[in-house]
Amino acid sequence: MAFQLRRLALALGFVIVIGIALVALLAPWITPQDPFLQNLDARMAPPSFMDGGTAAHFLGTDQLGRDYFSRLIYGARISMLIGVLVVVCSGLIGTTLGVVGGFFGGRIDAVVMFIITCRLSIPLILVALTVVAFVGSSLTVVVLTLGLLLWERFAVVARTTTMQVRNLDYIAAAWAAGCSRPYILLREVLPNIVHHLIVVATLEMALAILLEAALSFLGLGVPPPLPSWGLMIAEAKDYMYFSPWVILVPGIALFVLVLGINLLGDGLRDRLGATRDA
């Protein structure tokens, strides 16, 4: 029973993530309308299944008369893009630091630990907001900022798992066979810890997507008129008492995507026998 529930959760996570990724990729072909096209005569139209809704706008329109369904679909692009790029960026930084620290130990490891401690001490959202505000908001700046901030769990997990494999026989065999250090790190250590890192990647991807939404919600993330889900919630905030669906729609999308990624991560962890946190 419990086992089947887990498989179901993994399958559900997989379907959600793949589904939203497909929607993001195919956005230009499946959106009914231009997500940036304003129509001030048709502002705040309710969804088609509610009273007063029209078939032209499945999820209604926003405060500038833009088609909400089309904006929602394009929003998936932004969330997915942020999630994937941030994880690539932070994964590279964190894995490098963690593997080097865990493999060489001693002073090098002490330096790596110090860098991790410093990163943990600085307040995440505050620093991200500051960087975006002072450098100027754009998708690239948000990706780089989050990528430079969200690597610490990669580093921690890569470090501990590297320490575990460092003294195993196949590493000793590689040394004895005269392999170089870079070869051992890349071809012997990395493949044996990568399943832990994949699980961390799902966690960080979910976190990056939630953080981008929070930054955009505070007005210092992805700049308008891009249809980021966080920004859609911020823009619709003034109308939420009269038409709650304007914040329900992008919020549910965000919730479902993050839930899917987390289910996928949990399922993969069970399957791959990886640790969640070291």
Binding site: C118, P123, L124, F134, A206, M240, V258, R276
Partner: protein, 305 residues
């Protein structure tokens, strides 16, 4: 023990110095701070006045050294927006954020501990799975969105709780809950994990064999051992909550340190920005230092390595 404390304190000081550098560097990212502060309509003369008044005409290294010296003597600088010392601004906003953070922590523990204990006692059964599923669902909820939903339904539609401001104590309930929400899954997992280990241990079997009640075994023997890491992580979570309150304060219109930070960030009030970053980092460093010492006192094994 003394050696451990000394080493740990030295580490904290080194981290502090790094954070000082980072908070200084952050506010210089925009290139010319004076231009950004003066705003788009400013004349060259305005920019020059600001540059002189804030000492921005000096070389960066001189500015940095004087910022470190000022901080060391307890002077965090002057706000450009409020024309007041930054230290005073933070002090006047701190009670709101601190109350919010502590409310959040208490609510988080009140939810996480019982849920974690019940899950551990029913390990592998439907109740356990159900509780863990709720944790997964909760983790996926964007906190600012949850805040807005609570404002719409609990605050406006059903009028149960105030939705903004903290004139009365119940103003802290909704924001405290939302802040707690993000910390609950981690604390709950930790409680559950610790309790599962503790319940399977020899001393719990002994306690059972002695004929103690189930309540006494769980609460006195198992929980006491499982709670240690939870306390340490709770301290760290409090640090995260104080940093994360910037989002919650904006949703519930609370005038705390978080709102001060957001305001100064969006208006280029760089003395406040660098001071708040430094201030929150200091709280976090102090909390982790305390948690480490607490653990070292309780667990001698940690002092040796």
């Amino acid at each position: 023990m003394l050696k451990f404390l000394a080493r740990r304190a030295l580490l904290a000081v080194l981290v502090m110095l790094t954070v000082l550098t980072i908070s200084f560097a952050l506010t210089r990212l925009s290139g010319d701070v004076a231009v950004a502060m003066a705003g788009p309509q400013a004349t060259q003369q305005d920019v020059d006045t600001i540059r002189k008044a804030y000492g921005l005409d000096r070389p960066l290294t001189v500015q940095f050294v004087s910022w470190v010296a000022d901080v060391a003597s307890g002077d965090l600088g002057r706000s450009y927006l409020y024309h007041a010392p930054v230290g005073e601004l933070i002090r006047s906003r701190l009670p709101v954020t601190l109350t919010l953070g502590l409310t959040g922590l208490v609510i988080a523990l009140c939810l996480a501990l019982p849920l974690g204990i019940v899950a551990a006692m029913n390990e592998g059964r439907v109740l356990d799975r159900g509780i863990m599923m709720v944790a997964v669902l909760g983790q996926a909820m964007p906190s600012f969105w949850l805040g807005l939903l609570l404002v719409i339904w609990l605050g406006v539609k059903w009028q149960l709780l105030p939705i903004s401001g903290v004139e009365t104590w119940d103003g802290y309930v909704l924001p405290g809950f939302v802040l707690a929400f993000s910390a609950v899954p981690a604390l709950m997992r930790l409680t559950r994990g610790g309790m599962v280990d503790a319940l399977a241990s020899d001393y719990v079997r002994t306690a059972r064999a002695k004929g103690l009640t189930r309540f006494s075994v769980v609460m006195k023997h198992a929980l006491r051992n499982a709670a240690m890491p939870v306390v340490a992580v709770a301290a760290v979570q409090l640090g995260f909550m104080l940093g994360g309150s910037i989002v919650i304060e904006s949703v519930f219109a609370l005038n705390g340190v978080g709102y001060l930070a957001w305001e100064s960030i969006s208006k280029n009030d760089f003395p406040v920005v660098q001071a708040v970053v430094l201030f929150l980092a200091t709280i976090y460093i102090a909390l982790t230092l305390l948690a480490d010492m607490f653990n070292a006192v309780l667990d001698p094994r940690l002092r040796i390595s």
